[in-house]
């Protein structure tokens, strides 16, 4: 244990660990302190000069990010001296910054804009010409740079130097001609590149996919867990009544710190209504019948059938438990996205196991001392089965072997396909196929266990497809023969109406 030392910040006494910087102490106390270049996940640059504090007994103001708290220090950032300095620091940032907030994608989540509003710096002192720099600089397939908006905080360069260690970005030239840039023929294409967009305090770095799509103040955000792989990065999901728009990392010091991979940011598209399976179907060689999930489950007739079950790691622990407790199963198979690189790991966040809850699946199986066979075993056994239930992956894109496996499943006498998405191969079968819409992580409550065995709760945020049912709900219907789901507490959560449907006023 580190030694604790005492100091006073803005008249509040606080105890911090020895070696804590003043800015960390401010954050601990939740005292406001302006800063652009400091980021808790990066090294200290000390260049924006905004986090100035006054320390008793020291005539010169110090930057809070690079000054370590000493025992008995009396620190303030509320003195007139500090306020003037911060006000001027803002002025220096603004003199060459284009005031194009109305067309800037960062507007609404721009720290420079926040300070500008806070200080009411509406009358610029500068009447001279602004420095002209490059606009719309293409940094690669993902990111666009506006060097005039850039305040040269060096967060992005520190990210590529220290975190992704790919070193694509640099600051070129000097003085007020300084610009962020890439080296010739070396675009910013690493797997974590979009983190630079998150940490950019202004609208200098913007994501090609997200820019001009939505104004951020019309989006609502909700905490969740990334389902792109078994790392389970903590995320914030940004959504409105039309669906999901973007995903950003949420801090979790033991899992993803402040970061996530660019692939993970894509894992919202399969949640959105377009392409989702919106009702249950029964496909036979002759006809396709549309029905409710309740009707579909009624027509299954499970009694005295030999049932095989295929599971993927996309579902919550609670769903596995409900499913495994209910069925008398002949055999259970584990469908992996890609057995060859299932164990891959890039030594940072990306894992080859593209499922959020493989550990949870294994736990549920082991708890019941069941046998989990690899999906390749199904080939030999499929003819012995009367019915095959496939709890298909939530995000089909992460399963390169999808079509090959569907063709295998179709050999079964009867097939139940549970997934948020259908597939064209399923719609013209030789035998009978039921397709039943399931919920995505955004619509259900439950637990994921990540690669390290960390249990993480996800909560239903809103419903996207009303007819979709979680595995728990499907079992509930099968058990009780009732469609009323409000008896299950977790299900009541899921039936929350979309916030925007009710709250949306005139824009």
């Amino acid at each position: 244990m580190k030694k604790m030392i005492k100091c006073t910040i803005n008249n509040y006494p606080v105890e911090v660990e020895e070696g804590t910087t003043i800015i960390q102490a401010f954050k601990k106390l939740e005292q406001e302190i302006a800063h652009y270049c400091w980021h808790p996940g990066l090294s200290i640059a000390g260049v924006c000069r905004l986090c100035m504090v006054e320390i008793e007994g020291n005539n010169k103001l110090q930057i809070a990010c690079n000054t370590v708290v000493q025992d008995g220090m009396v620190i303030t950032n509320q003195s007139q001296k500090v306020k003037d300095t911060v006000r001027w620091g803002l002025e220096f940032h603004l003199i060459n910054h284009p005031l194009d907030c109305p067309i800037c994608d960062q507007a609404g989540e721009c720290v420079l804009q926040e300070q500008y509003m806070k200080f009411g710096a509406y009358q610029p002192l500068m009447s001279e010409d602004k420095v002209k720099k490059r606009k719309v600089v293409d940094l690669g397939s993902k990111i666009v740079l506006d060097t005039e908006r850039c305040i040269l905080c060096a967060r992005c360069t520190r990210f590529t130097d220290e975190i992704s260690k790919t070193k694509e970005l640099g600051i070129f030239n000097r003085g007020d001609r300084s610009e962020i840039g890439i080296f010739k023929n070396k675009p910013l294409e690493n797997d974590y590149a979009l983190n630079t967009v998150d940490i950019c305090p202004v609208g200098a770095l913007t994501s090609k996919k997200f820019r001009f799509q939505q104004r951020v103040w019309y989006l609502k955000k909700a905490p969740s867990v990334c389902t792109g792989c078994s790392t389970g990065c903590n995320i914030d999901v940004y959504y409105n009544e039309e669906g999901l728009w973007r995903i950003r990392p949420r801090h979790n010091s033991s899992i993803n710190q402040y970061w996530m991979c660019d692939k993970g940011r894509e894992t919202f598209k399969h949640v959105n209504p377009s392409g989702r399976l919106k009702s249950s179907f029964r496909h036979t060689a002759e006809q396709t019948e549309k029905m409710t999930t309740f009707q579909a489950l009624q027509t299954l007739k499970l009694d005295s059938k030999k049932i095989g079950l295929v599971l993927t790691g996309s579902y919550t622990c609670e769903e596995y438990d409900a499913f495994l407790d209910f069925f008398q199963l002949h055999s259970i198979y584990h469908w992996k996205n890609n057995p060859k690189n299932f164990e891959d790991y890039d030594n940072f966040l990306i894992r080859g196991d593209k499922n959020p809850n493989t550990k949870g699946l294994l736990e549920s199986i082991n708890k019941r001392q069941l046998k989990l066979e690899d999906c390749t075993q199904l080939e030999q056994n499929i003819s012995h089965l009367d019915l095959l239930i496939v709890c298909a992956p939530e995000n089909h894109k992460l399963y390169p072997c999808l079509e090959e496996k569907i063709n295998l499943f179709l050999k079964s006498k009867e097939l139940v396909w549970i997934s948020p998405h259908s597939h064209t191969l399923l719609q013209k079968p030789i035998n009978t196929v039921w397709t039943i819409p399931s919920k995505t992580y955004f619509e259900k409550t439950g637990t994921f266990i990540n690669h390290h065995g960390t249990r993480q709760k996800i909560k239903a945020v809103a419903s996207i497809v009303d007819s979709a049912r979680s595995l728990e709900e499907i079992i509930h219907i099968l058990k009780t023969g009732q469609t009323d789901l409000t008896q299950i507490a977790s299900i009541r959560d899921k039936m929350k109406t979309n916030y925007f449907m009710e709250q949306k006023g005139s824009l």
Binding site: I44, G46, D84, G89, E128, V131, L152, D176
Partner: protein, 426 residues
Amino acid sequence: MEHKLLTEHYNKDNYKSLEGYKQCGGYETLKLALNKQPKELVEMVKASGLRGRGGAGFPTGVKWSFLPDNNEPRYLLCNADEGEPGTFKDRMMMEKAPHQLIEGMIISAFAIQSHKSYIYIRGEYTDSISIIEQALKEAYKQGYLGKNILNSGFDHEMDIYVGAGAYICGEETGMISSLEGKKGQPKLKPPYPAVKGYLEKPTVVNNVETLAAVVPIVRDGAEKYKAIGTERSAGTKIFSVSGNVVKPGNYEVPLGYPLMDMINKLCGGLPPGRKLKACIPGGSSAPVLTAEECEKACLDYENLMDLGSMLGSGAIIVIDDSNSMVDILSVIMHFYHHESCGQCTPCREGTGWLDQIVKNILHGKGRLQDLDLIQNISQHMMGKTICALSDAAALPAISFVTKFKNEFIDYIQQNKISSDNLNQVV
């Protein structure tokens, strides 16, 4: 009177060769030093009162004693990136007496027990580079450098590193960044170079003149050196005098020498018919002195500080009444705008802003409120950045605008009248 302690033999033709240097007692002091205890040498330099000659004037011996007492490799860096406008003393020292610097460096390295040193030379100093290169070769050949120097058991390697022409690389941590192969940008302090410098190892950075001055200190003793100059500014200093004087050049005088004596007695006074208007006593970053202040000024650290200026690198720029102060400030502001490394916002944006405002005044587009604005900008650039470049730009701006305000107002108002007339014509 000139006091030629370092520059004594500079007029001898072969002094820059090892042979010529030895004829004048060269490398004898090194033998003396190698027989002493390193700590003894540090104490000696401390006792001599020698202060850094590069600009900041920090006591050299104290700087050396900041090195942590551990077994990590340490580095001695010689700052020969002389870039302060008006300064040209290091260049002369390297060109006239390369071995004096090398000897001073070996003694200093022995004192701080460093086995590797670099001389970081400004890239434009092509002559200095080739002369030092030649001198290093000779020194290695004669066993003054390399393994087991003069059978003392002390090893030391010395190399040259050539800068690429950035003023900021004269700042010690900027120089370290450049030497490490990075962009020449100052580093955050703490940690200070004495603890984590070049390659994150303990490092001492000293100016050419400082290191050369170690030779007479060790040779003649600290007492003798301390007796020269004033109580708190000991020793001699080489001043680079430029501007409106009859005989510009480098002059070595004891510290505390009157400024007017320097101008009138040593440099032959101002050109005939001219009147002294102002003087910058310590390089372009030092606040300017008016003619009246010059009368009171003595060339030492304390006296100039009392007058609100500084000794800096010892570059005296003499300005007579034929010059426009707006013009001169514009040149100085352009320089700092050009040389700001761009890391810290107040400096990056402030230097450019000041440059533009002063240029506008010069070109007849000034406004009266600009004078207050210059003061305000400068005040908020000072002491707010990683290194002192921001201060270096702010100090002259404030002093020029305060001390020669009327001249600036003249520029603004005369031009205003002419532009008003222009409007009427239109």
